[in-house]
């Protein structure tokens, strides 16, 4: 539901980067989106398209790399993918885990002309 705020964040970063490079147009923008951000990729693309209209980033393609949810056990150090919201360590059964991936919301790179 907060896709529009995130899309605005991406657009702000894209326009700032474009200005830094005296670009006249923004091409493909690649973002990483972790599984545990609750973002719907299609809504994010649509939101971005609407917000970018009339800017240097109008028509720019948004490439979304999804990052799976991964955790590390605080007890035994095992790293594992969290599937089906099962946050217990598969090695020792502990519930004390740190997330190591899956919370990303980052603009990685973009094309400017």
């Amino acid at each position: 539901m907060h896709e529009l705020s995130i899309a605005q964040g991406i657009l702000d970063i894209a326009l700032k980067t474009a200005a830094e490079h005296q670009a006249v147009r923004v091409g493909r923008i690649t973002v990483t989106v972790g599984e545990m951000t609750g973002l719907v990729p299609d809504s994010l693309r649509q939101g971005f398209e609407v917000l970018a209209a009339g800017t240097l980033a109008a028509g720019a393609e948004l490439v979304i790399d999804r990052i799976p949810l991964a955790a590390s056990c605080r007890e035994c150090g095992r790293e594992f993918l969290v599937e089906n919201r099962h946050f217990y360590c598969p090695e020792c059964g502990s519930a004390g885990v740190e997330l190591v991936a899956g919370r990303e919301l980052r603009v990685e790179h973009m094309e400017v002309e």
Partner: protein
């Protein structure tokens, strides 16, 4: 000429920067800030009313109410004699740090010990936006269903406390309270869980005790830093 530029910028960096400024302001004022999350109808405002009626004589508190369009929540809070400022998000699904920063400009935090920010009713988006709070708490009513913590893990991962509300309705549901608690602990081993009924008042006392401890903890911490600063300047 087409260039591929490395950007590597966090999309929420702008929000996080403003949240950091809010946090610094709260630190200077020595005010403990709780960001209260939960679904629409979970009982966030009612929990606040219960909390205020128990704590308003011992803690100097103010409330920021986030709501899509109405003033209803702030009016409810103000009736209890506690200052309440309403933020209307005009359809926005969450409060962000800038909304709080703008609101703080027209609030006087002098002498305030506790600021509770009641977020927009929503278990997804508010968890993503830091507003500068010390801690988050999430209200979940048992009538929402036992599966909600695992379906919406983020707020439970981030919160320092969960209030399981409406336990007076347990006999009318199939919810196994212990199973819900186990799921929540699987998401966050350190979380404090309070089973309460805001309607009957059951369990609210321990929640208020916890909240009071958090406020004192911040004051003690601020006091220590203050003392250290005085020693440094001597």
């Amino acid at each position: 000429m087409r260039l591929n530029v490395q950007v590597m910028t966090d999309i929420l960096a702008g929000n996080d920067r403003v949240a950091g400024e809010n946090r610094e302001l709260f630190r200077r004022q020595g005010v403990y800030v709780l960001n209260l999350l939960g679904s629409p109808g979970a009982g966030k405002t009612m929990l606040l009313e219960q909390t205020i009626s128990r704590l308003k004589d011992v803690i100097n508190m103010v409330v920021i109410e986030g709501d899509l369009y109405t003033q209803k929540d702030a009016e409810r809070i103000a009736r209890h004699g506690v200052p309440a400022v309403q933020i209307n998000t005009d359809g926005g699904c969450h409060l962000d740090a800038a909304m709080i920063a703008q609101t703080l400009e027209r609030m006087d935090l002098t002498g305030v010990e506790l600021l509770i920010v009641e977020n927009v009713g929503n278990l997804v988006c508010p968890a993503e936006f830091d507003v500068g709070e010390d801690e988050k708490a999430v209200v979940l009513s048992i009538t929402e269903g036992a599966d909600k913590p695992l379906k919406y893990p983020l707020p439970f991962r981030q919160a320092a406390a969960t209030v399981l509300n409406k336990i007076d309705l347990l006999p009318f549901t199939d919810v196994d309270l212990t199973a819900v608690q186990t799921d929540i602990v699987s998401l966050n081993r350190d979380i404090r869980i309070f089973a309460v009924s805001c309607r009957s008042g059951e369990g609210v006392e321990s929640w208020c005790d916890w909240l009071q401890e958090q406020v004192k903890g911040k004051q003690n911490h601020a006091g220590k830093i203050g003392n250290r600063k005085m020693e440094e300047t001597r």
